[in-house]
């Protein structure tokens, strides 16, 4: 375990970068996923079709491919630049990939949530004179969100673990740091693995508990 303790500084720094990656991607995925869910239940056929196409494409493509596409395709070939600094640039490219990928799962969770909201809620909202957009944002989505807080927690946990793939396109997050550490300490592979696994659990376990608690707290009584 000494290897881990001696390198605690760089390890924590790498985990911090995992946290930053997760937070930014979670926000992106939530926004995009909500938009997609809105599209998939909208009365406009073109919106519904594009939403469905997007979700089916993203959800069925391995994340590795998505992130490599962001790094090599968007970054190198198409020359998309967020920053002159290479590390900052690869961070944002990874955020784009993770958000785009996770959004499809957020969308599907939310859509399941929308189905738990009784039809009468939308009918009452429309009867009061709310437009489709207002009905979605003030009546349907708030109730849908509350009913899928638990599943969204699982999506978030998956996202946190998925950030490890960002090391592929040069983001110095926890998995990248672990590989470096193993390279220089071939005799302590097991302790290093355990150390990093514990590190991830420190991030994901509280996330799970928090979302479990939130889902109980926010549940809509009917």
């Amino acid at each position: 375990m000494n290897v881990v303790l001696e390198n605690l500084g760089p390890i924590l720094e790498a985990f911090w970068s995992t946290v930053l990656l997760s937070v930014a991607s979670a926000i992106g995925a939530l926004v995009l996923g909500t938009l997609l869910a809105g599209m998939r239940v909208s009365p406009v056929p073109v919106l519904r079709a594009s939403g469905t196409l997007y979700v089916n494409t993203m959800r069925n493509t391995p994340l590795t491919l998505v992130l490599l596409f962001c790094g090599l395709g968007l970054g190198n070939t198409l020359g998309l630049k967020f920053s002159e600094t290479v590390t900052v640039n690869s961070y944002w490219l990874a955020v784009v990939g993770l958000s785009a990928y996770t959004a499809s799962f957020v969308c599907e969770s939310l859509r399941a949530g929308i189905n738990t909201v009784p039809m009468g809620q939308a009918e009452a909202a429309r009867s009061v004179g709310l437009t489709f957009g207002q009905t979605m944002t003030t009546i349907i989505l708030p109730q849908a969100f509350r009913s899928v807080v638990g599943p969204l927690g699982s999506v978030l946990i998956a996202l946190i673990k998925n950030t490890t793939i960002a090391s592929l396109i040069g983001v110095a997050e926890a998995a990248a740091s672990m590989r470096t550490l193993i390279e220089f300490n071939g005799n302590a592979v097991i302790p290093i693995f355990i150390g990093f696994a514990l590190g991830f659990m420190v991030l994901t376990l509280p996330t799970g508990f928090l979302f479990g608690w939130l889902s109980k707290r926010l549940a809509v009584a009917r």
């Binding site: 009468g120 909202a125 429309r126 009867s127 009061v128 004179g129 709310l130 437009t131 207002q134 109730q143």
Partner: protein, 247 residues
Amino acid sequence: MTATPLVVLENVNKHFGELHVLQDINLSVHRGEVVVLIGPSGSGKSTLCRTINRLETIDTGTITIDGQPLPAEGRGLARLRSDVGMVFQSFNLFAHKTVLQNVTLGPLKVRKTPKEQAEKRALELLDRVGIANQAHKYPAQLSGGQQQRVAIARALAMDPKVIMFDEPTSALDPEMVQEVLDVMVNLAKDGMTMVVVTHEMGFARRAANRVVFMANGQIVEENTPDEFFGSPRTDRAKDFLSKILTH
């Protein structure tokens, strides 16, 4: 008075698949009039009620509200719906909002009424239906009768031209029916234009200007309550009344 009727349905037809649920319906509702729709289950009363604010679309025919044809969709339809109040059998109060928020939502979002004014008016309306002291509770904390009275206040908050009631007391425990009917009778006395689908014959006798009897998707008979209940003209209506009034 020869003013144009507020709600006019002309030759309205609707199918649910094979089933012809509304057959050549012609119906006019005048300002201040209380029209009660009665008839056996599956006769098309609720569907008719729901077509008037286009919660159900129609196949052919026209519906006009205050001289304006019902828009098919979009903002025009939303605006029109804000003028047609709706009270549902299952209340449909917004479950994640308090009683007060349920009543102020429409005025705030649709009418753009300032918040203070909307809340003041909402409290007045809640007081009128007798539940001002529950304003900060959530719908699930109220009894059925209380929820339905909130739903009526929510409809009133939009100052609608007409309110549709789709079996407002059918989902209530017997002892709560009266409190909702009382509110409705008072509304009728105050001159609100109402279309009421109900099985409450007492309410029809007491508050209706006109009774419309439907069966199998058609309007079979229209008359004043006294005439209709006293001397129904059609066999179908006699048969219906004999079944419900014997107890």
